[in-house]
Amino acid sequence: MSDVQPLVSIRDVHKSFAGNHVLKGITLEVMPKQVVAIIGASGGGKSTLLRCATLLDRFDAGSLRYGDLVVAEDKDGTAVYGGKDVLKEARLRFGLVFQNYNLFPHYSVMKNIMDAPINVQKRPRAEVEEQARGLLARMGLEGNENKVPCELSGGQQQRVSIARALCMNPEILYFDEPTSALDPELTQEVLKVIRNLAEQHMTMVIVTHEMAFARDVADHIGFIDGGVIVEQGTPDQVINNPQHNRTKAFLNRYED
């Protein structure tokens, strides 16, 4: 295993917003086929970490690599980002599923999924269409090809957005609280899809509040609080036998 490279490697990342130190030295590596769940209270830095990993925000210090691609390097305590081409290349390696889907409301379901593969990746339409239909089937969304997002339920929209991300053939898929905007019934249909992807060994990083789901689906859990990863390990270690008081306190609040 030691010669296998991590798909993403985040090292000692710091990030402040107007003097507010949100990330205080976070290190995280994700190996191929690994499913990592990030848990923690709101405001702890989970979403910021994900936004930094997906290049929506830039961190101040630390480094970020996708495989052998160096996206940002730490030079004397300042993160130096690569050029446009590097960032473009990096974006092709990951996908992101947003909390509130962010589908394009004026595009049909099929166009939402197919447009970027065709117009960004410049892949042939026929090939993309076949893949998109396959993905819709996997998401249990056959028959919705020509609908627009506003005609779908939240759970269906989130599944379309997962299909949209997957159609780019990312090496790694990030989820930013994918079920937080959904009611419990719709949450289950989305979790089922993610669980299904985990069984097929899709590499994923999932920021979530669904503790039971994280324990089931993840093989690595990180608990973030106050801008640092307080504790990480297997679900059994982190959720069933937490060592730190902050982890224990957080988990207690989630116990039914």
Partner: protein, 212 residues
């Protein structure tokens, strides 16, 4: 009388169409400059919009008409009034359109830009494919207002001696000592705006296939 009004109407239509063709795209460019992160450009554009909206269109037309001669000593010939008229309308309407575009562009949620960014769309692709189509749907009612105002504003061209419909009506009314030309002209303007209203409601219906 009808043939004179008819030839006036043709000029009115010309001013209307040329103004839209020029100011609709120019407005996009002005809106983008207004929102530029390069501050000097944003400030200059802001001053431009303020001036265009803050002084009478009639005065702007006069300035364009006579400015080249009085300020620069240029003799531009008798056709210059048509140019002054078209340029004046385009520059003025582009400023109003720019502010409507800006309100529309700023109403598009951040998440749309972020989704496009993560999917690798370039900045121009994001604007043309994702943002602009949604902006058009949102601003259509406000744009409709301006376009209908433009139908009637074309009559301001009379100050330049451009023989559009209102100028013709005025001339006929004076020579025949009659209200009738004004009444007919009013009916034609109203009919014109009804056609515009009809086309706008068709466009709104067409874009009604989704909401967000």
């Amino acid at each position: 009388m009808m043939s004179l009004l008819g030839s006036g109407l043709i000029l009115t239509l010309q001013i209307f169409v040329v103004t839209l063709i020029g100011s609709l795209p120019l407005g996009v460019i002005i809106a983008l400059c207004r929102m530029s992160s390069f501050k000097p450009l944003a400030w200059i554009t802001r001053a431009y919009i303020s001036f265009m909206r803050g002084t009478p269109l009639m005065l702007q037309l006069m300035a364009l008409m006579f400015g080249p001669y009085y300020l620069l000593g240029l003799e531009l010939g008798s056709d210059w009034k048509f140019w002054a008229c078209d340029i004046g309308f385009i520059l003025n309407y582009a400023a109003y359109f720019a502010e409507i575009y800006r309100s529309g562009i700023q109403s598009i949620p951040r998440g749309q830009y972020e989704a496009a960014e993560v999917l690798g769309y370039s900045r121009s692709q994001t604007f043309m494919k994702i943002v602009l189509p949604q902006v058009i749907k949102r601003i259509l009612p406000a744009m409709g207002n301006e376009v209908i105002t433009l139908v009637k504003d074309t009559s301001l061209a009379f100050v330049l001696g451009v023989m559009e419909m209102f100028t013709q009506a005025k001339a006929i009314a004076a020579s025949q000592v009659s209200m009738l030309p004004y009444i007919i002209a009013a009916a034609i303007y109203w009919g014109f705006t009804m056609v515009v209203e009809f086309l706008l409601s068709r466009a709104e219906k067409k874009l009604d296939y989704y909401h967000d």
